[in-house]
């Protein structure tokens, strides 16, 4: 080995560990944090993309709902229209006591049914987001059929989302006559629920 080659080998022996150490330092202080930052920003980007997809799907669902309620003649839209009515006491009393064929008086001053006490309560918010109020009615009529008609009107055709889930009527069903008891004068109380949104 020449003297020149010997010097080169000697120099390499000195610099090689320094280069290795420098590489390790570069990796620790530069490349590693950069890789960490890159990973973090990649996962942030992925998370944002996921959130955008979720929100877009949520918005598409709301748009579909908007379309579904455009047809005001559909039962679904009609139901929503009723529930969207605010709990306005005067309007509710008018719907229940005045603006219907059952309580409206004829020229002789009589009506198909008479109402005694009527009590409204705005109720509370339900877990599903809707509110449930109540209306308590004292009803007097000369015919059960009129009461059935009146309650059917309230729960099916009135402008509010009235619901009836508990009722007891003095009705019988017999093998011979299907209309027994229908003309008996009845006085009873009933509580209806009212769904509304606010």
């Amino acid at each position: 080995m020449s003297l020149e080659n010997y010097n080169i080998v000697r120099k390499n022996r000195v610099y090689a560990p320094l280069l290795v150490a420098l590489s390790i330092l570069i990796f620790i202080f530069v490349a590693r944090p950069m890789y960490g930052a890159y990973s973090a920003s990649s996962s942030e980007l992925l998370s944002l993309e996921t959130q955008i997809e979720q929100k877009k799907s949520e918005y598409a669902k709301l748009q579909e709902l908007e379309k579904s309620i455009q047809d005001e003649t559909s039962p679904f839209a009609s139901r929503i229209e009723k529930i969207s009515q605010p709990f306005h006491e005067a309007n509710i009393l008018e719907a229940v006591m005045v603006n219907n064929d059952f309580t409206r008086k004829n020229p002789q001053g009589t009506s198909l049914i008479s109402l005694g006490d009527v009590t409204l309560s705005p109720g509370t918010k339900l877990p599903n987001g809707l509110h449930m109020g109540t209306i308590h009615l004292s009803i007097i009529s000369g015919s059960i059929d009129n009461i059935v008609g009146y309650l059917t009107y309230l729960t099916q055709n009135a402008p509010y989302a009235f619901v009836l889930d508990t009722i007891t009527l003095p009705l019988n069903s017999t093998p011979t006559s299907s209309l027994e008891n229908s003309q008996v004068s009845v006085s009873f109380q009933v509580t209806l629920g009212i769904y509304y949104y606010k």
Binding site: L169, N172, L179
Partner: protein
């Protein structure tokens, strides 16, 4: 080089904000919110009383029994069934059994009755007159 996706991230954040604003705008419409609630939750159906009363009145006639009283709670119609002796040789329970079988057959077919007869597990009375407290489960309706 957009090594840290900074440009992408800010663009996506803006896109997310834009979609969130659209959602917030839609949520100010009460009707959409109600529709959303109705789609994701079941609310109490209202009883269609006139249909039920009509079917109740015809139920006794069809079965040849008397049904006394009409009480509804939690989608269950409760009444008292009375069956009287038609001939000396027959226990009136036969009429009740026939009624049970008719409702059973109807529930196995596509017959759309307003209510289904719940199992009758007790029959009282005498060989001349039988009675039982019975219940019909009402077919739920979603109409308002």
């Amino acid at each position: 080089m957009d090594f840290f996706h900074k440009g992408n991230i800010s663009a996506k954040q803006e896109e997310l904000q834009a979609v969130e604003q659209k959602i917030a705008g839609a949520q100010t419409n009460h009707k959409i919110m109600i529709a959303n609630i109705l789609q994701n939750n079941s609310i109490r159906p209202s009883i269609k009383l006139d249909d039920l009363v009509r079917d109740f009145r015809s139920a006794g006639r069809e079965a040849g029994v008397q049904l006394q009283g009409f009480s509804i709670a939690n989608d269950i119609l409760s009444t008292e069934l009375i069956s009287v002796q038609e001939s000396r040789s027959t226990d009136p329970v036969v009429t009740i059994i026939n009624m049970m079988r008719a409702y059973e057959a109807a529930s196995n077919s596509d017959d759309e009755r307003a209510f289904r007869l719940e199992p009758i597990l007790h029959v009282g009375g005498t060989p001349e007159s039988r009675n039982s407290q019975i219940q019909f489960s009402i077919t739920p309706t979603t109409s308002q």
